[in-house]
Amino acid sequence: MLSLFIYGVIQSVTLALYALGFSLTYGISGVANFAHGGLYILSGFIAWSLMNTLRLPIYLALPLTVVIAGLIGFALYWGLLVRIRGIPLAEVVVTFAAGIAILEFLVWIGLYGFYYNLPIFIKGGIEIQGVAVDYQRLFVLGIGVILAVLLWLFVHHTKIGLAFRGIAQNEHTALTFGIESDWTGALSLAVGSALSAIAAVLILPMGVLESTVGYEVLIFAVAVAIVGGLESIPGMIIASFIIGFGQIAVAKYIGSKWMVIVPLGAIAFILAVRPSGLLGKFKELEERV
């Protein structure tokens, strides 16, 4: 029972980390960044290349990865999205296609199997009342919580964060206050990509760096974001706990191959029953239904 609790919490925080970037980008600029999974794996690959090809030390390589991922997100906006801004379906298709293009390209250059993996920061683990947990997972837990708090502070108490929220609430009014819509959009995509890179360098060391993981990350991110309500961060956290505990419980009592069905089922259920998500408020009627 305790192991269910501990691993449930860790799984939930992992899911929240996956979804953080996706949710933030959508919440600000309204761009559903379906390239999220692709960017996640790409950041993992960049980190791997920096460490193994350029032989950079880990404390240099990982921040650099996050910065590069941010720049890629920025470029993605100015290169592709700026031309189709405001046509939601075109945005979805373009980011979706960009994500798949990245993933399939990485498959093509040989990114599968056990050859590629990132090192764990802290080796070893502890036992909490008979449940073994390694330090890396606890580290993920800590970073996840810190990141969520920092993000909240950033969005509520910095100028850029307030500009983000202004654009999210009413683009035209924000424009009259001198908030540049395209720059905020690009920044939001950059921050979202950087967050996906942070998730990648934290979580990938515990698994395999593989392209197929990218699709799952996308499913998880979309699932959490939709179930929670696309623009609400508290909703996202609640949703990641529901899905995380659901997954661990399913893995424990039914079988681990059923795990991936939990988020998919959750999306189908919530879209059919309450399309705006658990805590989604605005954009409720006119856009969804």
């Binding site: 298709v93 798949i100 399939e104 093509w108 979309v222 189908a268 399309p275």
Partner: protein, 337 residues
């Protein structure tokens, strides 16, 4: 140069022959009848002759192109009713598995399995998606994206219907002329059928649902029921494609729900131009042979499709077909402002 641009602008006018052939007087001249018939008859004759010319490998490519054309048509039909699908693979997979299961467990011949899979699959797809017809835009797109993934994982996890190994050694088509002509025939019937449906009053309502669903609701039309009907039609076409391919490959597995079958029809429709159906067929007839010619790229194929898709959406949003249609019907000239 800048000044010249300021003083002149391009103006588009209908060609005289277009204006003349719009009315009943078209029958007064062979030239005008030809102008109307040529773009319709030429592709039909071409598609009917091609199976005779192409045999072996390229014959298979033609069949594949037709099947993707059917999926693209089904996508276009849904899109013209405001339902934007990212998961044509769902229809394809449902049709495949119905046909595969009937052929494997009940030993039905293709003559029976394909019609049953087409109709039954259409009903099943419409029933499965009926709770979400309320959704619009990207929310509908997301749920269609999730659908095929959910089903392929379910089949792998439950190990029903062959699980991850799939069902193999199913009954093939007996006559070698059946597959190409069945594929081409289905494509032509769907193409002209859909064009007809959309031009009827029925299609007018569907188009209106895409443009402004509130207005249609206020005209006391049940848009959800109409959307379910559209889902049934599009789903049947997708299921037919799946059932056909099951017998063609003599195999069905979770790969029937693969992303390829979602992204390729979308690319074809975007390349050819959405909304006319002819564009979707045109796109898949270009895209499939092109990708076969680029077979050296092997694993890069999906990347290639994605890049084509991105370029089309950003660079040529109207699609090739709309462009050609404009050139055929209109001419451009500079006029002074």
């Amino acid at each position: 140069m800048a000044e010249a641009n300021l003083k002149f602008r391009r103006e588009r006018l209908d060609r005289g022959i277009k204006a003349r052939s719009d009315t009943i007087y078209v029958i007064s001249s062979y030239r005008e009848i030809l102008y109307l018939l040529l773009p319709r008859v030429l592709p039909v004759v071409g598609l009917l002759v091609l199976p005779l010319v192409l045999t072996g490998y390229w014959g298979k490519v033609l069949i594949y192109a037709c099947i993707l054309g059917l999926l693209a048509l089904s996508w276009d039909f849904l899109a013209s009713c405001g339902m934007f699908s990212l998961g044509q693979a769902f229809f394809f997979g449902v049709g495949s598995f119905i046909a595969g299961a009937l052929a494997k467990y009940l030993q039905w011949p293709p003559l029976l399995t394909i019609p049953v899979a087409t109709l039954g699959g259409g009903i099943l797809c419409a029933a499965f998606l009926s709770p979400v017809v309320r959704l619009r835009g990207i929310y509908f797109a997301m749920i269609t994206l999730v659908g095929p993934m959910l089903f392929s994982r379910l089949i792998i996890a439950t190990e029903y219907l062959g699980g991850s190994h799939g069902l193999s050694s199913l009954t093939p088509f007996t006559n070698k002329w059946v597959p190409p002509y069945l594929a081409v025939g289905a494509l032509l019937v769907c193409l002209f059928g859909f064009r007809r449906i959309i031009n009827e009053d029925y299609g007018l309502v569907l188009n209106a649902i895409r443009d402004d669903d509130r207005a249609v609701m206020s005209a006391a039309i049940n848009i959800y029921w109409r959307k379910i009907q559209a889902l049934f039609i599009a789903g049947s076409v997708g299921c037919f494609a799946g059932a056909f391919m099951t017998h063609q490959y003599q195999f069905v597995g979770p790969s029937a729900f693969a992303l390829d079958y979602s992204i390729l029809p979308l690319t074809a429709a975007a390349l050819g131009g959405a909304g006319t159906f002819a564009g979707a067929v045109f796109g898949s007839l270009i895209l499939v042979p092109l990708s076969e010619a680029l077979r050296v790229l092997a694993g890069l194929r999906i990347t290639f499709y994605c890049i084509v898709l991105i370029i089309c959406i950003i660079g040529l949003p109207e699609g090739i077909f709309h462009y050609l249609q404009r050139k055929y019907q209109q001419f451009e000239r500079l006029t002074e402002i």
